[in-house]
């Protein structure tokens, strides 16, 4: 069974351009259908404004869809009660693009990673600390950094903190919204390696949002190409890269800077 089944998903925003102007509708996500299989890496690619991040927000229930359904393990998450929604949010976590603005600068690492446990479990302080330290080790953060604050870390290390926070509730799915776009290539490689290792170890499913096609080719099983709120093409990585069908996909693949000599 598919983990996610997305049917006719829609997110329209009404934007007023003046006080008495008629609102115009921006179709950020326009009637899209796709599914996510358990244990796979599904990437959503496209340029800024194509609706890929809106799709991520809809899956995370940060935004409410204006139409359509999102089935997770057979249940429509747009119709869940608040208790059921809490359970859902434990299973689906997110890591963000910018490791600078997605961590609270006034909290130390220990507190940042412990927060999801405090909100969602009945563990006592000692158990929480143990769990946090285990997960820190898993993502390559040293134990003695427990008391440190985000500004004392490099970009790559901060992204590791973000990954630890997403991982601590042992989710089934992690939505990765441009997780390596803000990082240097060598740090990017470290984080990609970590994501691949963690996926193997915990049998995770990733929905990977990115505009970098080289990264996407490396990490994904399947790819969805979005353009102005629509899905224009979706296929296995090998097929899509070898034989792109839609003009926009061809353009996108053609624009990847290549190292060939």
């Amino acid at each position: 069974m598919n983990l996610f089944e997305i049917k006719n998903l829609q997110k329209h925003y009404d934007v007023k351009k003046g006080l008495f102007a008629k609102p115009t509708t921006i179709k950020a996500v326009n009637d899209i259908n796709f599914h996510v299989k358990k244990g796979e890496v599904l990437s959503i690619v496209g340029e800024s404004g194509c609706g890929k991040s809106t799709t991520a927000k809809l899956l995370m229930t940060i935004e409410e869809p204006t139409g359509g359904e999102i089935f997770f393990e057979g249940k429509d998450i747009t119709k869940l009660s608040s208790n059921e929604l809490k359970e859902y949010r434990k299973k689906v976590q997110i890591i963000f693009q910018d490791p600078y603005s997605s961590l609270n600068p006034r909290w130390n690492v220990g507190k940042i990673i412990a927060e999801p446990l405090k909100l969602n479990t009945n563990l006592n302080d000692k158990e929480i600390k143990e769990k946090v330290l285990t997960i820190m080790k898993k993502v390559g953060l040293k134990e003695e950094w427990y008391e440190r604050y985000p500004h004392q870390f490099s970009g790559g290390q901060r992204q590791r903190i973000g990954i630890a926070r997403a991982l601590v509730l042992e989710p089934e799915v992690i939505i990765c919204d441009e997780p390596v776009s803000a990082l240097d290539v060598s740090i990017q490689a470290q984080v990609l390696n970590l994501l691949l290792d963690l996926q193997e170890e915990f049998n995770l499913t990733y929905v990977f949002i990115s505009h970098d096609l080289s990264v996407v080719e490396h990490i994904s099983d399947r790819i969805i190409v979005m353009y102005f709120g629509d899905i224009v093409e979706s296929d296995n990585v090998e097929t899509l890269f070898a034989n792109p069908q839609h003009d926009y996909t061809k353009q996108l693949l053609g624009a990847i800077p290549k190292i060939e000599f």
């Binding site: 340029e47 800024s48 970009g155 240097d184 290539v185 060598s186 740090i187 990017q188 490689a189 470290q190 990609l192 390696n193 691949l196 290792d197 505009h211 970098d212 096609l213 080289s214 990264v215 080719e217 490396h218 990490i219 990585v237 890269f241 353009q251 996108l252 053609g254 624009a255 990847i256 800077p257 290549k258 190292i259 060939e260 000599f261």
Partner: protein, 286 residues
């Protein structure tokens, strides 16, 4: 040689601590060619370009070295001379086109300003025509309308086109481009890069291109300078560097990129080892 940088040292002072951001860097730029400086954040590539422009401010100091532009040492030049060089003979474009354009003036006003400063003999009408011509040159749609627009109304790619137009109006000998396409989408990046090489061919401008993206380097560079922790670790023609990288740092950097077709999917990528000081290896200057 159009520009020769010799043994440049730029330091930043913080209390008792001295940070040698650029440490004994030498390279040169031939006329009409593109030289790329690549390196990770903190490698000193941007500080090198700011040193050339004479834009290092306290607590930073250019300690020693020479920057010879058309034979004159810019480090020994007066402020007045530097002002006549900057924008006219050497101009610069930056990564974030939104923050480097003034949000409260129109595109036209900002382009006009460059000509007012550097080509004061032109009449108002001549300047207007030159600005429109510059906007046409960078492929801006509806240049006459865009002249009166404010920067916020333009897309990222269009803003970068305005920046390039501004940098190119005085037909500089050298264009310094500091990560000009990093904030842009790939398809827009491809357009901007194409525009830059088109202008280079037409005007014979030399380009110093600063980037961390080796894919971009491969596309545009004649010569490549690899920087690591303030030092140049490898210098070679683009062809030599990519077909036969010699310095361990360059190799690690190249191997950390997931290249479709070359690196096996889902394999673990090589990384730059943070525990290794790559400066221990001999420099590879070709």
């Amino acid at each position: 040689m159009l520009l020769e940088v010799k043994n440049l040292v730029t330091c930043f002072y913080a209390d008792e601590h001295v940070n040698r951001a650029v440490d004994n860097v030498s390279f040169s730029i031939p006329e009409g060619k593109t030289v790329c400086i690549v390196g990770e954040s903190g490698s000193g590539k941007s500080i090198t370009s700011l040193s050339i422009m004479g834009l290092i401010e306290k607590p930073g100091v250019v300690e020693s070295g020479e920057i010879l532009f058309e034979g004159t040492d810019l480090l020994k030049s007066s402020q007045k001379h530097m002002r006549s060089v900057r924008g006219a003979k050497i101009s610069m474009i930056f990564q974030e086109p939104m923050t480097s354009l003034n949000p409260s003036y129109t595109v036209g006003y900002q382009l006009d300003e460059v000509l007012k400063l550097h080509q004061s003999h032109l009449s108002k009408k001549e300047r207007y025509e030159k600005v429109i011509e510059a906007l046409k040159l960078v492929g801006m749609p509806y240049p006459e309308e865009k002249y009166n627009e404010y920067p916020f109304k333009l897309s990222g790619g269009q803003r970068q086109r305005v920046m390039i137009a501004m940098a190119m109006t005085c037909e500089p000998k050298l264009l310094i481009a500091d990560e000009p396409t990093t904030a842009l989408d790939v398809t827009i990046q491809a357009q901007v890069l194409e525009l830059m090489s088109k202008l280079q061919k037409e005007k014979g401008t030399a380009i110093l291109f600063i980037t961390h993206d080796l894919g971009v380097v491969a596309g545009i560079a004649d010569e490549v300078v690899v920087m690591y922790r303030g030092h140049v670790v490898e210098k070679a023609s683009a062809k030599e560097l990519f077909s036969d990288p010699r310095h361990p740092y360059t190799k690690a950097l190249l191997n950390s990129i997931p290249t479709p077709g070359k690196v096996k999917r889902k394999s673990r990528l090589e990384t730059v080892d943070e525990n290794i000081d790559y400066l221990q290896f001999p420099k590879e200057i070709r």
